[in-house]
Symmetry: C2
Subunit: 418 residues, 2 copies
């Protein structure tokens, strides 16, 4: 039997945090978002991290399947990436004139990413999704944007929902929402709004929260690509979350089509702070004509880290490695669930798997299972996809499956089959 | 006579950059923005930086008065800030659960910044100006935003101009623009749009580009503050550029009033990548209710750097130190100009001084003078305020004045007085 973790120091620190920080911890890493329920099962503050693990402030170690919500792809504190970053830091980071590491990084992305003729760097995924839709509007002289329901493209007003705090109707009045994988519906929207659609923005597959993740149907992307081309509409792929966990050449390449603009962040530099928009040559002058910058955008340390990260990802063929690890874990979890009569659904790409126990539409059974895994040192969350990193070992996976099985067994004891 | 710098390697690298990066170098650090003319006088890429200097790729050393456009406040590679950051990096930076350094940093800002009851961290100045206006709209249930002409609050659509590429009319249709220091005009706008104005957003004084910088008139801010209070309008101070170079308690405190929300970035962590929104308690729940986050926002290294930076700024009383250095430089530049009959205007705060030779409305004479300073190792730019950092020595200032005088002498030789 596993040792059961408690989180007294996390609770204490959260009370401190709540006094001086709105929500205490905000965003996807905070308890308010709904991925961390029941709250008392989860640690709230980390003390340190290394490889595939992090330790919380109560001294508990977790096998980490969230990877800081994506950035940790090679393992925390990867020695190659950290060495490249440290060497650059000695020379300079945020300096009045940029370092040529920026050019090296752009050249490497152009060599690596299939649709990339150029690269533009910023700091958040949101910076580059916003640049993408502004560029599409500037290039097409049109206003409308098509989204797939279940999307997430950041936190700027244009991409939030009308009922979210701080959003006004003018922010989102040109947004059109269609169902994922429904080509006919999309084609109807194009027919209805001929010459009005600036861009389609989409994740490479539907990896939304609170829903089983859904891969594209065969030929879906090829038909969408053709529709966009026929209507001179810019096709934007938001690869912030999935990027480099499916294909180093871009997730569009993985699914056999070519985006006009593609957005990267997260895994781009193993946690160093950088994002990138890459795109086709026909949009380069448009980007050049725009007023778009930020205080730290040309800092050299994240460029050095990004170069080291991409070179290592190429050397190790990271997407294949992560998919293999994910497949082993997936099979182990399915077997463990089935042993105790639970209908576990594992959806999405294996390197970004989404979990749901399908036996209970209230989600309570699923949340109970996740909580028992977390209390034993496997950091899953309830209603968000997970992330695999390269430091995750066979032993980590075996231990994860053993703990998952223990949690299933406990659940079955509490909820006997009729 | 000074050695005259050339920039062959910068040109070579720029040709490389232009192939794979839109504009080659974009934003305020790029030659396209208009601050770097004549382009051939300026270096485009740096090789390293230390203290008050950076070296370009041709090996030229510059006394740097742009400070990476603000972030460098203590000197490049400050040993105390870098040591705190390196210690945190060994433990972890971007981790699934945040580090308690986030709480320490928030508590320190609440202790330091006069109007701060809480702090919220992000990555760009733009992240926090956008959060501020969204929070004001959410709190007031109003749409209109008042700006002062000449403002810069980032690059989100809501804050760009209607004629900028990628901006649509709906982005800016609730924006109202008034003249800086014109209280009567502001009061008229409030009277006309009663119960419609969500917020006033403003820099603490007018430090816009291509204009002499202008401090607030006596009582201007006190009257604006009162007007906002009477109309339940949120007063947002954008202290991204001026922050910590006037007053560690906030530039609102320097000018004797209290903002409802204040935005920091740049000098907050001496170049480490973090921004902050601080504000009053009555807006804390509104911020908590918003959906606002990003991939690297809870990373611990910039928090550790920010703590070390603020503690050192307090220890050294940095604003006073920078204002003193700025005043010595200002007097030296004025004397040097006047010796050769040039009417140099030095405006704004001495720690953020703006330069203009007033003898020539075409600006060509000014650009010629700046170019001759840059060619001799003093990095000024043409139409943007400058920044003083704490590593700038008496010798640096003396050398700067000597070079400025040499440039004035050359200018007078080329353009004899009639």
């Amino acid at each position: 039997m596993s040792h059961i973790y408690t989180h007294d120091k996390s609770r204490e620190q959260f009370l401190r945090a709540a006094k001086v920080i709105p929500s205490g911890i905000y965003g996807h890493q905070g308890p308010a978002e709904g991925c961390y329920v029941p709250v008392d099962a989860f640690p709230l503050f980390s003390q340190r991290a290394q490889g595939s693990y992090f330790w919380d402030v109560d001294g508990n170690r977790y096998i980490d399947y969230m990877c800081a919500y994506g950035p940790n792809i090679l393992g925390y504190n990867d020695p190659d990436v950290d060495a490249a970053a440290a060497a650059q830091r000695k020379l300079g980071d945020c300096v009045t004139a940029p370092n040529t590491k920026m050019i090296d990084f752009a050249e490497l992305l152009v060599d690596t990413v299939h649709c990339a003729d150029w690269a533009f760097f910023a700091k958040n995924g949101n910076d580059v999704t916003t640049l993408a839709i502004m560029a599409a509007r500037a290039y097409t002289h049109r206003k409308k944007i098509i989204f797939f329901k279940g999307y997430y493209h950041g936190i700027s007003p244009w991409t939030q929902k009308i009922d979210y705090a701080g959003v006004i109707e003018e922010d989102v009045m040109h947004n059109i929402y269609v169902d994922w994988n429904n080509y006919e519906q999309l084609a109807e929207v194009f027919a209805k709004h001929k010459d009005e659609i600036a861009c389609v923005i989409a994740q490479p597959y539907m990896h939304g929260n609170f829903m089983d993740n859904e891969l594209p149907q065969p030929d879906f992307w090829q038909k969408v690509r053709q529709l966009c081309t026929e209507h001179d509409t810019v096709l934007v792929i938001d690869d912030v979350r999935a990027g480099f966990r499916l294909d180093l050449a871009g997730s569009d390449h993985y699914f056999g089509f070519e985006a006009d603009l593609i957005c990267f962040c997260k895994a781009l530099a193993n946690g160093y702070n950088v994002s990138a928009l890459c795109g086709k040559n026909f949009l380069k002058n448009t980007i050049s004509s725009m007023s778009y910058t930020g205080s730290y955008w040309l800092s050299a340390v994240p460029f050095a880290a990004g170069i080291a990260c991409i070179e290592k990802m190429k050397r190790l063929n990271i997407p294949q490695l992560l998919i293999e690890k994910g497949n082993i874990l997936k099979q182990g979890l399915l077997d463990a669930g089935s042993k105790y009569g639970f209908d576990l659904h594992v959806s999405g790409a294996p390197s970004l798997f989404y979990l749901r126990i399908a036996d209970d539409p209230t989600l309570m059974l699923h949340q109970e299972w996740i909580a028992e895994c977390v209390r034993r040192g496997v950091f899953f969350t309830n209603h968000h996809n997970h992330f695999i990193n390269a430091a995750l070992s066979e032993e980590d996976i075996a231990q994860t499956i053993a703990i998952a099985e223990e949690a299933f067994a406990l659940l079955r004891k509490r909820h006997p089959q009729e």
